[in-house]
Structures are given as structure tokens and as C-alpha cells.
Symmetry: C2
Subunit: 387 residues, 2 copies
């Protein structure tokens, strides 16, 4: 058991650097931090691989076999740049959603698209609103372009649409970030609530609606697409339910002029040819998506049951993970995380109080959840002894 190594790695990555005098003042002012330490980094520090990789909300159920086959086919064609317009994929996505393709922009995951939309709209002194403890990669981009972050606390374990909008009005925010379903808590709001939020976006602001997990949420979680609405841009991904996190394909749905403006700043040839082929095949295999949805549902139930058997409180989830309330503050949650990691189970936890009283466990294969059930009592006992 070497849980402390994890934190040594994190410190190493954020050590102060001697600055190159040619950096812009903005970049020189940025911390050398990484939003997430990758599981491979932890494995190298620990000296062995995880038995269960359940920390990054990846889909252990894998991509569609048709997507794998398409990528294997495309591997031999990797000498060609990918189509910079991702035309076939863009048209397929547009047809899937029954919208004009001019409302769709592909990018290297939602992370890449968030970086671009922040670059397009945020300069030094521009105000941005998000929830305290929401997606840190978004915050990284805002800070990276000199924006000023204003946060609103969660209401219980839910993001708070009304207070996000109120804060946006108060600070005259350019951007408001809101994820539905939410990461890291797994909670969600109804389509009607989200539609109300869109309706109330103040003039001059843009709502970034991150729907990375929406394929795993109940019907009625996503409001109908009205892509001409200038108040909102929505983000979807092939990284979660479609099981293609490592291929890096996400897309934005928004008003045409805003979507077209991505062409002024994006890396036009940045989307892998293999990834485009994989995403296109994944989109075409809705049976596989339904299969994954069923597997994720079963895994959520199992994680919740394991939590309850051990005195932890599972939060309801509309995602491919379950957040377990450890019931005793950040120290207990962190200790349990470390004890699970030391037993070969990669999990993560929220960064900010009061959500950091929880740990977050991604949907696993039955055998992985058997292992989780097996090690949880000892991990929890060790965590209680420490915290």
C-alpha cells in the first residue's frame, strides 16, 4: 500500500518553474497544474497496474464492435490527414439530431471545444460563472485565457440553475457553465428546468450546456434541441456512452454564426482520421448504445448496493458513475480513496467542499464490481482507522 505516492506525483507536476522571459504575462502567471492526474501516472508511481480502472468515467463496456472494426480499417489509411470538415461525421450527427449541419462543430473532445469557445469569448477581465466544484478543465481554460471565475455553490448535491443565472446577471458574465447531468455528483435536472435556465440567460451571456453524460440519463433530461437559440451552445461527446474517450471526438451544437466562428481559431486538421471513422460507426450502432445503457444501469445499482452494504450513501445518478457519500468529511473520503487505490481500484473524488465528502466510482464490469465489493470493507476499515 503506497497511497502517498499519488500526492508526490501531483506535487511534482505542480512544482514551481523558472519562467521563460518570452512567455506572455498571462501565461507566465498561470500555475503549472494539470486538471487531472492520469491513471497511468498513478500506476507508474505505484509500480503496478490497476485491477479496476473506475476513476475517469470511461466506459469499461468498450466502444461498439462496429466502431472498433471501423477504426481498425481506418488504421491502414492513417497516412491521410483526416477530413478537416469531418463532413461525413458532421452530416451523420446532424441527421441523428435532425438539425442543419451548419449547427454542428466537431472537436477533439469536449475539452478541446471548451478551450476553443473560451478562447473565442474570454479575454482578461471577462467574467465567467460556474459552480464551485464543477468541471475543473473548464476552469483551467478560463484561467488560461485570463477570465475571472465566479462560482455559485451547489444546492445540496445539485447544480443550482437559478443562482447561476442570478450570478451571471450580477457580474455581467460572458459565459455560464452548467453540466446536465452533473459531474462529479451524478445529479440532474429536468428538461423543463434546463429550458427555463436557457430562457433566463441574460443578454450578452452564453450558456455552455455540457451534456457529456446525457446519453446515460433518463428520457426527459435534455430539452429539445433548438440550435438557432443564441443563448446556448450544447456539448456532446463520444467519450462516455459511446466508449471512445481515447479517440477524442466531441461536438458542439449551437447557432450557425457562433459555430462558424470556431473555424477562425481551431486546429483544422486536428481530428484524427481513425477517430472520425470510429465515431461515425459508433453513432450508427444504436443497439450497442442501448446495450451500454443497460450495463451502466446495472452497474449503478450494484455500486449503490455495495455502498449501502458498507454504510455509505449512494447519490442518485444519471451518468456512468455513482457518487458515494462517505458521511464524514473530506479526510474520510480521501482516506477511503487512497485505500481503494492501494487495493488496485482507481476511483476519484470531488475537489471542493462539501462535495468532497464523497468518492466517485465509474460503472464497472461485474467482475470489477465483485472486486470492489470484496475490498470495500477492509478499505473502509483502514480509512476509518486513519480519519
Amino acid at each position: 500500500m503506497r497511497p502517498l505516492l499519488l500526492f508526490r506525483v501531483a506535487r511534482l507536476l505542480s512544482r514551481p518553474m523558472s519562467d521563460d522571459p518570452r512567455l506572455t504575462p498571462l501565461v507566465a502567471s498561470l500555475p503549472a497544474s494539470v486538471p487531472f492526474v492520469g491513471p497511468e501516472t498513478m500506476e507508474r508511481a505505484a509500480g503496478h497496474a490497476f485491477a479496476a480502472r473506475l476513476g475517469a468515467n470511461e466506459s469499461v463496456f468498450g466502444p461498439s464492435p462496429k466502431a472498433i472494426a471501423a477504426m481498425q480499417q481506418a488504421a491502414g489509411e492513417a497516412w491521410m490527414y483526416g477530413d478537416p470538415e469531418a463532413h461525413d461525421l458532421r452530416l451523420a450527427i446532424a441527421a441523428h439530431h435532425r438539425v442543419d449541419p451548419a449547427h454542428i462543430m466537431l472537436g477533439e473532445g469536449i475539452d478541446g471545444l471548451l478551450g476553443l469557445i473560451v478562447r473565442m469569448t474570454v479575454a482578461q477581465g471577462v467574467n465567467v460563472v460556474t459552480s464551485a466544484g464543477a468541471y475543473p478543465t473548464f476552469n483551467y481554460h478560463v484561467t488560461g485565457f485570463g477570465g475571472t471565475l465566479h462560482t455559485v455553490s451547489y444546492a445540496g448535491d445539485f447544480e443550482d440553475p437559478e443562482r447561476l443565472i442570478a450570478k451571471a446577471k450580477e457580474v455581467k458574465a460572458r459565459l455560464v457553465y452548467f453540466a446536465n447531468p452533473d459531474n462529479p455528483m451524478g445529479s440532474w435536472h429536468s428538461a423543463a428546468t434546463v429550458q427555463d435556465m436557457i430562457h433566463n440567460v441574460p443578454a450578452g451571456a452564453l450558456l455552455l450546456l455540457d451534456e457529456a453524460y446525457v446519453d446515460l440519463a433518463p428520457e426527459g433530461t435534455a430539452p429539445p434541441l433548438r440550435p438557432a437559440d443564441e443563448r446556448v451552445i450544447r456539448f456532446r461527446t463520444f467519450s462516455k456512452a459511446h466508449g471512445l474517450a481515447g479517440a477524442r471526438v466531441g461536438y458542439a451544437i449551437g447557432p450557425k454564426d457562433l459555430i462558424a466562428a470556431f473555424n477562425r481559431v481551431r486546429n483544422h486538421f486536428g481530428l484524427s482520421r481513425i477517430s472520425q471513422a470510429g465515431a461515425l460507426a459508433a453513432l450508427g450502432d444504436q443497439d450497442w448504445l442501448a446495450h451500454v445503457q443497460r450495463q451502466v444501469g446495472a452497474a449503478r445499482d450494484r455500486i449503490a448496493a455495495i455502498g449501502m452494504e458498507n454504510g455509505l450513501t449512494p447519490l442518485p445518478s444519471a451518468t456512468n458513475f455513482v457518487t458515494l457519500d462517505c458521511g464524514a468529511g473530506v479526510e474520510r473520503a480521501r482516506a477511503l480513496l487512497e485505500e481503494l487505490v492501494a487495493r488496485g481500484i482507481f476511483v476519484r473524488m470531488p475537489f471542493v467542499a462539501p462535495q468532497n465528502r464523497c468518492i466517485r466510482i465509474s460503472a464497472g464490469q461485474p467482475a470489477q464490481l465483485d472486486l470492489l465489493a470484496e475490498v470495500m470493507p477492509a478499505a473502509l476499515a483502514a480509512a476509518r482507522a486513519r480519519s
Copy 2:
């Protein structure tokens, strides 16, 4: 024959847009242009696929079979995010070059890395020096971050290191871009000349040495790696000789503090897991690289011969393309390009005078070059009739 369609497509992409008022003043000021129109866009406009795709300096000889196999294997693991540190690949590259891995940064092609280094060093009003007619994607990034471009003309068909350095001194440039070998002319300077250039980089400036094509150049083209040298950052890629353009993997070699600063702004999880696996296997297959180098050499000779048979002057090349001087100004070159494209052969041409008296043809398979030889006389006759 519908060559005009190409230009219709280009116009469409650059049509004026109604601006979103939430864009930053800088982004609102940017043209909606694309550095390169992709061949798929041209094919869609023409209604049929190219018979020979010889315009984007891709490697028609393909990636190593070992790289294909590694990517096919990794396709099934694409549900996992790629290692954000690209640890295995970075260490392999470092070992290959016998440098400390802390001098290496991976990115989504040289295009992606150029965007990051420009973001890190260029803000509005910062001066940047390049050659008139050199890589347009670099210029796109400089403009995109508000920098001011200063250009130096080529000396004949060569970039001019001395005048680039003199201009950098004159305008107190932060960045100087220099490609060796050069694209689009295929020319190159000796390692000694490049080392002199590095030696003369003025204080406060950084030389961006783009060595995308260096694997295809004669021995003695690249100066020895001295990665601690604060005056230069060098760029290499798996897109050219390694045949992985569609996988998007490039890397920078530079001083440790500057390399570490990429971590403040990059998209940490942006590198495809499949691409990392492919690049690692490609690097390990130096026999395949030698095979490609031989094939490229033969193709260069053949393109030169086809040019000479038709009264065009081939320029010496240290790359995987040959630039043919059409001998009669931009109209003749453009007409010949269009006539070749209309006959199913995708080629490109330089953007700026006097280089735009040429067309640029990538190394092809023997059958593709047979086709080139077959259609060239009629294409040239048609071009002469038009220009």
C-alpha cells in the same frame, strides 16, 4: 472538368459572417479562412474521388505495418483516455534522440504545437518573423493570437536565414519561424548554416525550427540536438516519413522550462490513445522508415523526370514532394494545377509570388506517377491554352 468548383468551395468557406457580439474583439477581427482546403472538400465539389492524392505531402507509402497493427490493437482499448503524459512515447522519443525526456513535449501534430507555442509567447502587438510564402498555418496561429507578422522574401527558392535574423533584430521579434527542409519549395540548408542561424538568434527571441521533413533530407541537414539551448525549439512529426498524418502526433524538443510551460495551456488528454500506440510502433520500425526513404527518393526522381519531359523545371528536394517551376508566372501554374485536379490528380501550389510560379507534387506510388506522366502533356497543353 470542373476546376472552378474548387474556388467556389474556397469562397464559401471564407464568406463574411454576421458576428456574434460575445466574441472577443481579437477573434471578431479574424478572417473566417482555412489555411488549407482539404482534398475531401475538393472531391465532394467535383463529385468523384481523386485517382492520385499527391497534394498534401502525405506518405502514400503508408505507416509501418507494425504501426498499423499497434493501432488496430489499441482500437479495442479506445474506451480509455490516452495517457496525458504520453509517457511511453515520450521516453521512446527521448531515447531515440538521446535526450532527457524533460526536453520533449508531444502534441496533436506540429500544427497543434505551433498553436500552443504561439499562444504561450504572442499577444497583441508582439512581432513575429517568417518568410513570405512559408507555412500558412503558422501565420494563422500568429494572427489568431494577435501577433504582427513581418516577412522576409525567399532568396531564390531558399528561405534566407541571415535576413530572417536581421529582420528579427530590426523588429525585436519574439518568434522567428524557419523550416528546414522548406515547404513549399523543398529546398534545404546545411546543418552548419542552421547552427549559425541558431547562434545569431537575438536575445528575447525564440527560433521555431520546423523539421517536419528532416527524416527525408540528406544526412547533415539537421544540426546536432542541443535541447538545453534557450534560443531554439525544434518540431518533428510522425505525419510525413512515418506516414501517420491522420493520427496527429508531433513533438517539440526544447529547453526544459519552455517545454514544461506547455503544461499550462495544452489540452492534457488531447492525444488519441490509438495515435500514441501507432507512433510508438512507428518509431520502433526504423527499417520501414528506411524503406519509405528509398521509395520517396525514387518518387522524387520520377516526378523530376516527368517534369523535365514536359518542359517544367524540378527544384531539388529534401522532402517527400517535388516543386516544379512552370516557368510562366502564377496564371500558368494555377491553370496547370486545375487541369491536373480535373484529371484526378490532387496537387497544390505555393501561395505567394514568386514561388507561386510552381506547383508542388507529393511523392506517389509508381502507378500514381504513371498516371501523372500520362495526363501531364494534355494538362499542360490545356493550361497553356488558358494562360
